[in-house]
């Protein structure tokens, strides 16, 4: 599966753009602010029906315009499939697959998988547990449609329960039966989510380990572990035990919404003790493992989106990555670079189909096949 064509209208800094791609490497080059990353984001949008950087669609419209559209033509086993995403101010966004509008946007997730590697990835290490949950949730959702439904159901019970705790705080009337009703919902769906996350991590682990070894060599051992309140022996009891704290804080303090994924290197927290380079290797290994597991589960190669990757990597890691590319590990690759000559020299040695797009202020300047 690969993206053959993309058409943008009023998306971010593009007024109107139409590009054709080949199944190989597509390098997008141009100065800072020219719109390279926005183009990657448009591809991300086609796959996951949202921007990788800004969840507010209104702000993804080009300044002074009222709507944006993104149209993509994917090729899967030689037959074209079109995906259309459109958003108009104050309207619901529309996602169409082969001219048909989806009833639920969630049906689209996983059909055209992408893996994006961007400078923002370091939020996974630096930010709180929510960023890590979001990352793993989005990977699992790409390979398991039911997972997303379970998450939504869990979220519903959590919100109702928190609303109940707030009303209690204001009115001082406690309804234990109602709280237990929401506990039961959270326990039911929480258990499913817990089991899926645990199972996923078991599958994910070997991919992650081997990617890290390839990038950084045998000398370091990274650890990735999953921590959840649901790991306790009696989680139902834990909900009851937290009752008083919940009432005081007006929110639910136990549950799957507080899970965390722990990143460590030689048993020490990566955030505090990992060097810049080690952190980069860790993140890259996470993303490449994501690529590997999606490829295995869906039996197709996700499109790889590499944003400013050359700035992030030293020569050794770059070499490791280029080697993986040359071994046909990946399918179609989009990458951005502010320095065309660097991309040319890195990619020149590769025996893959390559195209370079020179982008200037939201317009295509020229195309070069090399």
């Amino acid at each position: 599966m690969y993206l053959e064509q993309i058409e943008l209208q009023n998306f971010k800094n593009y007024a109107s753009l139409s590009l054709h791609f080949t199944p190989g490497i597509q390098a997008l080059v141009g100065e800072n602010g020219s719109g390279k990353t926005n183009l990657l984001d448009a591809i991300h949008y086609l796959s996951l029906t949202k921007s990788a950087f800004n969840p507010i669609d209104q702000q993804n419209i080009r300044h002074h315009e009222g709507y944006f559209t993104i149209k993509g033509v994917f090729k899967r086993e030689n037959s074209p499939e079109t995906v259309f995403c459109g958003y108009e101010k104050a309207r619901k966004k529309i996602i169409r697959h082969n001219e048909l509008t989806y009833e639920k946007v969630s049906q689209h997730i996983g059909r055209f998988p992408v893996v994006m590697i961007a400078p923002q990835d370091q939020d996974l290490i630096l930010e709180g547990s929510e960023a890590r949950r979001r990352f793993f949730d989005s990977v699992i959702a790409q390979i398991d449609a039911e997972y997303l439904q379970n998450l939504l159901h869990y979220q519903y019970y959590l919100q109702q329960r928190n609303a109940l705790l707030k009303t209690y705080y204001e009115q001082r009337q406690w309804d234990e039966d109602l709280c237990q009703t929401y506990d039961a919902g959270m326990l039911h769906f929480g258990q499913k989510i817990y089991a899926r996350r645990q199972h996923f991590l078991q599958d994910f682990q070997p991919f992650f380990q081997s990617q890290y070894q390839q990038l950084a060599g045998q000398k370091e051992s990274p650890q990735l572990s999953y921590h959840s309140d649901f790991g306790q022996t009696d989680i139902a009891q834990a909900f009851i035990k937290a009752r008083e704290a919940d009432q005081r804080l007006q929110r639910t303090t136990v549950g799957i919404h507080r899970d965390d994924f722990i990143f460590q290197l030689e048993s020490y927290p990566l955030k505090k003790f990992g060097s810049q380079g080690q952190q980069k290797s860790y993140l890259l290994a996470l993303k490449l493992a994501q690529f590997a597991i999606v490829r295995q589960e869906l039996a197709l190669k996700p499109i790889l989106l590499l944003d400013d990757i050359f700035d992030k990597l030293d020569d050794a890691r770059m070499q490791a990555l280029v080697e993986m590319v040359s071994q046909q590990t990946f399918g179609q690759i989009f990458l951005t670079d502010a320095r065309p000559e660097r991309s040319l020299s890195v990619l020149a040695a590769l025996n893959t189909e390559k195209q370079m797009f020179f982008i200037q202020q939201g317009k295509l300047n020229k195309t070069q096949i090399f």
Binding site: Y156, Q159, A163, D175, L178, Q180, T181, A184
Partner: protein, 201 residues
């Protein structure tokens, strides 16, 4: 804002446009229609509405709409008093009645529980239901609430309240609508109806 020739018309239009499903254009059409008719037509309408508002009562047993302290269903001799069907609104009573398949009594909750929407159990007629099944000859409570998460939560909650009484508790079946095509049924409903299939007799 539309300009009306008369303040009287404007007032009437504004009042009628407050009704669900009626915009100001339709309201104006209705008002002009009433003016064209005899005066008695309008007075009959206002009188009917006034009496509706002032005289309507809610049944003291089941909270269904009634003209007297007890509704016609609760008063009917032939109905099976061992069955109570729990519904959200008076419309739901009418919907079940229209099936002509049910001969028991009802209980109208007046809504479903949702703390997010500001509806707590005390806003609904749950206490009277618990009291009622305790004191009456009720043997089975049938939940006929909408198959939404709020509906399911409400069923679960009330079931908790009723657990100490010797009652049979049931909910209406969920499945594929009769006369529809299987291939067009939504996945969740179809999946559920496979899981809760009934044996063929």
């Amino acid at each position: 804002m539309q300009v009306f020739a008369s303040k009287l018309i404007e007032n009437a239009v504004q009042e009628i446009a407050k009704l669900p499903g009626i915009g100001s254009k339709t309201a104006l059409r209705l008002v002009l229609h009433l003016l064209k008719q005899n005066e008695t037509t309008t007075l009959a309408l206002t009188e009917a509405l006034r009496r509706l508002r002032q005289d309507i009562q809610y049944c003291r047993h089941c909270h269904f709409i009634a003209d007297a302290p007890e509704c016609s269903i609760c008063l009917a001799r032939h109905r099976d008093r061992s069955l109570v069907c729990v519904v959200e609104s008076p419309q739901d009573v009418m919907a079940v009645e229209n099936t002509a398949q049910y001969q028991g009594l009802y209980h109208v909750l007046g809504g479903v529980i949702s703390p997010m929407a500001g509806v707590s159990p005390s806003d609904l007629k749950i206490d009277t239901l618990v009291e009622r099944v305790q004191k009456s000859e009720c043997k089975e409570v049938i939940f006929a609430l909408s198959p939404t998460m709020e509906g399911d939560t409400t069923t679960f909650y009330i079931t908790k309240k009723l657990r100490d009484f010797p009652l049979k508790i049931s909910t209406i079946a969920r499945g594929v609508p009769i006369g529809s095509e299987l291939e067009y049924a939504d996945e969740i409903t179809l999946g559920r109806s496979i899981l809760t299939r009934t044996s063929y007799e």
